[in-house]
Assembly symmetry: C2
């Protein structure tokens, strides 16, 4: 995946996850595949609104759906969720590296920024 494709994927994932109903649908799908009506059951919204949220999730790549006869079954794309999680792990490693360098600097310098004398 090019960095441009990766960035577009992150756009889609985060935009899709910025809504409580869509996060609720992801929660349900973590427990296993579900039909559209199973996804709709706990949500107090019309089936048409549920289908719209599902389309956002599917377009982002977080969910895939498959039609078996008259029932559409929804599955979680765990790879996509893991990709989004990796973005956070990458940022964390950046700021942790900075805190480590800051810690080293403070250990090696006095409060005026002068190198500590070797004891």
């Amino acid at each position: 995946m090019s960095s441009q494709q990766q960035s577009a994927a992150l756009d889609g994932w985060f935009q899709a996850l910025g809504d409580p109903a869509r996060r609720g649908m992801i929660d349900r799908l973590c427990r296993g595949p579900a039909s559209v009506s199973e996804l709709a059951r706990p949500l107090s919204m019309t089936l048409s609104a549920v289908v719209q949220h599902l389309q956002v999730l599917e377009a982002s790549g977080l969910v895939r759906t498959r039609k078996d006869g008259r029932v559409r079954t929804c599955h979680l794309e765990t790879n996509a969720l893991e990709g989004a999680e990796r973005w956070f792990a990458g940022r964390r490693s950046l700021w942790e590296a900075r805190f480590d360098r800051l810690g080293e600097y403070l250990a090696e310098h006095d409060e005026h920024g002068k190198p500590n004398k070797k004891r």
Copy 2:
């Protein structure tokens, strides 16, 4: 934090992160605090557009800013990024638990779903 506050925080974090310019600003702030003009430098957009993105990041709680004299300095709120990362870790533990149960079931049953005889 109540679950309603937590959900509102997740809405704000993910909506803020669903934009490549705002993610670029987060990347920069992982390396240390920066002024608004430092944040703007690598971005090909007007300062006013940068300030608007910064306001979205600040409203979401991912970034805080402080005015020192005439310079506004931006800092990363690592707690907020860690909170968003925890959401992914929570989902992952749900689906991993399901895969574990599925693996146990498959190990204990034959291809017709009948329990395996003890050997």
